[in-house]
């Protein structure tokens, strides 16, 4: 049995849910960040699969954009986390609640 579009989409959905769970449940900022990347890649996977099965390159073009944006985002986001860590000596979300009322 060769894998069809649905198989790819299921894998993509699973990856997305894993990422979402990580974002909501994990406490370390770095891990949350990696989970975010996982969600992005789940989307990428779905796009590539659509592109392949619909014989349309638009999806792959979109993927390149997403990878570029994700790279830029990582550069900024990790820098922020490092700066935050230097200031507060922690990367745990429970300790970062200064915006509360």
């Amino acid at each position: 049995m060769t894998p069809g579009l649905n198989h790819y989409l299921v894998v993509s959905a699973l990856l997305f849910c894993l990422g979402l769970f990580g974002v909501l449940a994990r406490r370390n900022l770095i891990v949350i960040y990696m989970c975010l990347e996982l969600m992005l890649n789940a989307a990428n996977l779905a796009l590539v699969a659509f592109s392949r099965f619909n014989a349309n390159l638009n999806g792959q073009v979109m993927v390149f954009f997403i990878i570029t944006v994700a790279a830029a985002e990582v550069a900024v986001g990790l820098a922020l986390i490092v700066a935050l860590y230097r200031k507060r000596q922690t990367a745990h979300v429970e300790d970062l609640t200064s915006l509360r009322f």
């Binding site: 974002v23 909501l24 979300v93 429970e94 970062l96 609640t97 509360r100 009322f101």
Partner: protein
Amino acid sequence: MDHSAAPLAVTSSHAQDLAWVVLLFPLVSALSITFGLRRSRTLTNTMALSAVVTGFFLSVALFLGFGFGPGVNADALPWLSIPGLNIHLGLKVDSLSTLMLMVVTGISSLVHLYSTQYMDEDQDYPRYFAALGLFTFAMLGIVLSDNLVQTFIFWELVGVTSYLLVGFWYEKPAAADAAKKAFLTNRIGDFGFILGIVIVWAATGTVQFDELAQKLHADPKVLGNMASLAGVLIFLGAMGKSAQVPLHVWLPDAMEGPTPVSALIHAATMVAAGVYMLCRVFFLLDLPAAWPDALSFLSPFSALGIIAWVGGITSLLAGLIAIQQDDIKRILAYSTLSQLGYMIMAVGCAGPDAAMFHLTTHACFKALLFLGAGSVIVGCHHEQNIWKMGGLWKRMPTTAICFAIGTAALCGVPVVTAGFYSKDAIFAAALADGRHMLFGIGILVAGLTTLYMARLFLVAFLGTPRSEQAEHAHESPWRMTLPLTILAFPSVALGWLPIGGFLKHRFFPEVAVHYPDSLTEILFEPFNHSPLGAVLGLGMIIFGAFAAVMLYWSAAQDPLPDRVPGISRALSRRLYFDQVYEAVFIPLHDAVAALADWFDRWIVQGFIVRGASGGVELFGRGLRLVQTGNLQTYAFFFVAGVALVVLLALN
């Protein structure tokens, strides 16, 4: 308005624009005095005087050029233009406005000259002349206005300048209070005036005099059942400014201002503005009685009927009160009220020509009397009580002669004074209109006028001095006596000019006017024209003079308080108008103010303002609880939100 095409020389088609120059000169003078010339007395003098004197000569030119035609409009400036309402600042140059222009600028010139001497020792000399210039500007604005809204604007400006000038010596509490009283009393009248303007505009869609006259000419019922109400409301404005009962209380108090101001504003011009305005909108008033249903109990009265009666009552009450006043300026103030009552009564008796005629002559002789009173006051070292004067005839001959001429003119001595002709025109108008009661009141007031003026003259000028100040009285310098002398001439001769007929032709073009042609006919015209009024008036003058001589010839003090104590006390306390107002309206006003204060404090401020801000704040406090500060809570809400949107989108 395209001036680029106009040649430099004033062409006939633009000559009426000179009216703008007449109007704006006093304003320029006031501004330049305020912003610079005040450093020098000579410059202040020169600027103020030259502005009004130039204005006077231009006014004469305008009168000769346009007074005899149908009237023209000067170039107008658009001011407000919204659908349904177009207002521009325009000037109307016709017989009525140019005549009034000459009166205002002429009297104003003489008062300016007089003031240069009278106010000489005052510290605030420039402020006085700036205010006087501003007043002249505002007054000319009323005179030249070609629509109701512009009239109202200048009407208010005149009120403000009157406030400034009455309260000129504001460090004196009486002057400050009088200024406030004048301003507030006028507000009541002005409120009615603006309501009247709104009614007229709502019914006709225009506020311009020419257009209104056209619309009323095309359809006399255009105002519907609001006709009389609109007329009476507009008259309310005149009641305030021309000080008619019951809004007259401010005028006697306004005598706290400098005497030249009393002469110019509170005798000759501003108080006459009400009469002038009524003449200007006479076509609006001269309509059959038509009241809205809620006011149908007023239906027997037309607007003119009400106007006539208010005028008649004012002239009678003021004439009575004047008999028992002791302050020379207050006697003249009540006399002014009485004469204004005459003019208003004349308008009400469908005689705007008689009203304007009397306005013109009255402006001359009442300004003369007030300036004479000022001269007396200065001569007697600021004594105003006539019972502390006496024997001034010998000490101040020029003032005394001029004052005598003014007195004769005010009483209406036949043939030799202007007052005789104009007063007789009013009697004739009352008779011709069939208002015999008012005619009787008018004749009676003529007697009262002679009585109180003869009393004033006998006590102040004849007999022997009753005080130290009168003993050492001295004649005033030439800058004060010259205006008196100049004013004495029109007070005598103005009646010989056919002003009455000229105005009659303007108001009632269809009536044939007979101009007397021989000298005897001119001099005795009233005896031909309305013999009853002239003869009865003459009888009352003789009677009044006789009574005054009997009572006051070399009297040491007023005999009336002993003979008729009750009446005398009521009259000297001015028929208790002020006391009644104090007892009724002031507590009422205080109660309304307290209620408004309570409403503002508790309803507006407490409930509405605090309520709104409190509600928002409470909501905000509630919303703050959502902000946990936990990153992942936000992420969860975000995801939940996306899920909700997706769910909705899929459905």
